[in-house]
Subunit: 132 residues, 2 copies
Amino acid sequence: MVEYITQTLDAVFHALSDPTRRAMLHRLSTSERTVSELATPFNMSLAGASKHIKVLEAAGLVRRHVQGRTHICALQAARLAEAQEWLRYYEQFWEERLDDLENILRAEDRALAEKARHGDRKDPKTKMDSKE
Amino acid sequence: MVEYITQTLDAVFHALSDPTRRAMLHRLSTSERTVSELATPFNMSLAGASKHIKVLEAAGLVRRHVQGRTHICALQAARLAEAQEWLRYYEQFWEERLDDLENILRAEDRALAEKARHGDRKDPKTKMDSKE
DNA sequence: ACTATATTAAACCTTATGGTTGAATATATC
DNA sequence: GATATATTCAACCATAAGGTTTAATATAGT
């Protein structure tokens, strides 16, 4: 059904596998930044940071436009959407587990209710929300 | 707010950056498989495939239980959920763009309506759904 | 023209990655 | 006990990745 360009996913997931690059993306999410601005927070040479930016660019996660001598980088989120789409297929497997948990809790509730009906009532366990 | 264990994300995204490993996960999504079953479809030595499985295991994406001499692997989706959660933050940036597109289309509609009101009416563009 | 700034390029180093082959280990089966 | 099966381990190889440093390039400011 859905067709994934594997080289794109390779590049995107690889780009995301490095904490420096993820941090760069996060900073780009608040505003565009020049290469030096992006490099500043990291304990790394400019050339090193520049390489990371190029990896992000190659994966299509960052677009740059050159303005005089400065290169301005901007987040380009479309490829992240593709990655998320790939992941979406697997949602059923973690949702399934949550469903299982929910079913267990419901079964416990029923058991308690049954017990209560037969006289022996006591503090019914409060159901807790799995979302924190 | 949400705190991400960067080493976990490093490992998960790295694991996902290889097409063989993504294919393995996909096969595990239909059922559990032994190491050799997992290795079969790939043009690669068993030892090679075994290494990939270990990468998946180290990233927490696969769990194995040994039964006699065979090792049975199963998908473990929780870490994928974490990766998706990390990506979810960026949804606003692709949704934003879709919103922009929608606003442009709406503006065009208004312009056409205005034109029509001033006599000059012609085929109004049908609005298209941005999904699909 | 000269100098300072922004960025990349090139060469290099170390470690990781993806792969191989051949031997080792553990469990089944005859 | 001997043999076949399932899997890993260890050693090795080539290339990629993440980093550095020292030029080189391009544009700005004086």
